[in-house]
């Protein structure tokens, strides 16, 4: 792939086609991941988008990878593509390590207590995205000289059976001297936060579109919901949140594309996207009424994900403190406008 806006459109079309061939996974309460979807994406080279061909990826720009992740997030695809394309994959390459084959899922965990000694990783990794599903895992770990990035092949190591509110696997691994590749940790946490922000933004845009559509179709008291001023106010509030999130996340991604430090931009994007979730999800359910509360309706596939994604990779308070500490001081304005 050569990159550019047309290629991005093509990538999005391809992902949509793949998604359309699948029933959207009803994760809850069965709690599974979508192995078939992963296989098809891998087949089409979409699990390596934005990762260089010479490293085993499919090439293309970061913008293409962001488009793939956003499209899958909006479609509630139950596959670790955000983790692989935006977090673990780039972090592995930035650390100078060997990228595992891109058709084998690679994920990330940033919680728990882990240490590396003599090239072996030990401790417990908690809240690992897609635990039990992925083959390879990237984590930050304490090394003899400070924090490092560690990449391990999990083989058939068992994970604890736990899930987030959408049923996406989020279990723990107990690691007992597993051989690890080790490199500089870089902006792993910020990348993870930004990836979740990208997913949140795409999901929120979709939830807004669904809610606008529903309000235009659903008739109550003889008129479409959309004709009630009270409903219009709610939709305008949602649109305000979605538009603000979208612009900021987009700007943070552009920093990443330009190769600039992204920690504070990612912090801002995660804080803003996380703060929008309560408004967007609550109003979407409010406008949809009881039908949106059912498992049959599509709405929950995104709202339950949004509720979990905002807490994963650091919640608003965690990142707000990072951001606040960077802005605090004698010259807050230059500090602020330097962020994105």
């Amino acid at each position: 792939m050569s990159g550019g806006a047309d290629d991005t459109d093509l990538v999005v079309e391809t992902v949509r086609d793949v998604l359309a061939g699948h029933e959207r996974s009803t994760l809850t309460p069965e709690r599974r991941w979508d192995a078939e979807l992963w296989a098809e994406l891998a087949q089409a080279g979409l699990t390596g988008v934005g990762l260089p061909e010479e490293a085993g990826g499919s090439g293309g720009e970061l913008a293409d990878a962001v488009a793939v992740v956003g499209t899958l997030a909006a479609g509630a695809g139950a596959v670790p593509v955000a983790e692989q394309l935006l977090v673990a994959g780039p972090a592995v390459l930035a650390a100078g390590l060997t990228l595992p084959p891109v058709d084998q899922p690679l994920s990330v965990g940033v919680s728990g207590a882990l240490r590396v000694e003599d090239g072996r990783l030990s401790g417990t990794a908690t809240d690992v995205a897609w635990a039990g599903v992925v083959r390879h895992l990237v984590v930050p770990a304490a090394g003899p000289d400070g924090e490092v990035l560690a990449l391990v092949d999990l083989g058939d190591l068992a994970a604890s059976d736990a899930a987030n509110l959408a049923g996406e696997p989020r279990g723990s691994y107990v690691l007992d001297g597993v051989p690890a590749q080790v490199g500089p940790v870089g902006e792993l946490r910020a990348r993870y936060a930004l990836a979740r922000a990208v997913q949140l933004s795409a999901a929120a845009e979709t939830v807004l579109a669904w809610t606008v559509q529903y309000a235009g179709e659903r008739v109550q008291f003889g008129r479409p919901l959309a004709k009630f001023q009270g409903i219009q106010v709610q939709l305008a509030q949602m649109a305000g949140e979605v538009t603000a999130v979208s612009a900021l996340v987009d700007a943070a991604v552009q920093r990443l594309e330009r190769g600039e430090p992204v920690e504070l931009a990612a912090a801002a994007a995660k804080v803003r996207a996380g703060a929008a979730v309560d408004v967007v999800a609550r109003l979407a359910h409010q406008v949809h009424g009881a039908i949106g509360f059912t498992q049959e309706h599509r709405l929950h596939h995104l709202t339950t994900r949004m509720w979990s994604w905002r807490d994963e990779a650091g919640n608003e308070t965690t990142w707000a403190r990072v951001l606040g500490a960077a802005v605090a001081g004698d010259d807050p304005w230059p500090a602020l406008v330097g962020i994105v």
């Binding site: 509110l165 008291f221 009630f228 059912t294 709405l299 929950h300």
Partner: protein, 383 residues
Amino acid sequence: MPSTLTLAPAPPSEAAERVRLEVREFLAAELAAGSFETHVDTWLSGVDPAFSRKLGERGWLGMTWPKQYGGHERTAMERYAVTEELLAAGAPVAAHWIADRQSGPNLLRYGTEAQRREILPRIAAGECYFVIGMSEPDSGSDLASIRTRAVRNGDGDWVVDGAKVWTSNAHHSHYAIVLVRTAPADPTARHAGMSQLLVDLSLPGITINPIRILDGGHHFNEVVFDSVVVPGDMLLGEEGAGWHQVTAELAFERSGPERILSTFPLLAAFARRASSEAELATLGRLSARLLALRQLSIRIAAALDRGELPDIPAALVKDVGTTFEADVAEEIRRVVDVPASLDSPDPLGRALAEAQLHQPGYTLRGGTNEILRGIVARGLGLR
């Protein structure tokens, strides 16, 4: 302040404080014995007939009803204390909830003597459960648009056709009180021609289909009526007065402690570990909101007991109270860093997950907040 909003204080009640302590002791013993586990939103999801029967045995159901119908002739304040203790503990009260709160009082008001003698003692014993059949697939908040109809046949019985949705726990219940059209819809009098029927859910022609909510839980159902023959004497109240009866009923159900305390078990789990300044401030803010709502709710219960119909404050409690229930999870998750998960090893993580996954329900049940704000606007003299 507009007089429609003012409420006199509830009378102090030693009897209420006595029974409150009895319930607290009972709950502590049951929890210790492992007879139930604390959960969020148990008045919807905590079905446990054995637990309901225990409450019945202790005289904590049908508390305010006449003794001749199995009641205990206790005060509204005593009943209030019992129900809020049960909710605060996250006890499994869903099986009997609708029957005790709503259907029993409905039967007392509109039922025939035979209906009362037959059914009320069983409700008070914790053995007979009810569902409310109001909403329909296409009606939403607009109850005047319902289409389920009942037609008298040659024997004077009612033949019912249609479907009701959002019937909580119909699959565990014995009766439904169903709002039906008994006369064709009249566009010039949208609220005329409706009646309430008391329907035995075991009658032939009734199908109960589950409606699972977003966490996969089965609490709601669709109840389908296919030429169900309901005996003629099962009309509840007056033919054609269904709209009026239902409206009064909704006002009653809006202001109880269950509009404030659905997520209290989460708040309690948080309170058990709150220690940082930020956590204590959040706990304090939520506590102050809860205490204010509770004062309102208690005052409304006292007013209802005096025979008043404080429908504007009741709508306010439901509007502000259910927003509070949702905010509990939102405020707590901001200051703790515990992932919300039904599988969490941490009780706070589980309570957060339960509270979040049930959130859309708090504000929707009992009339959307838009409808409630319309009632308030009318009470302020704006409509």
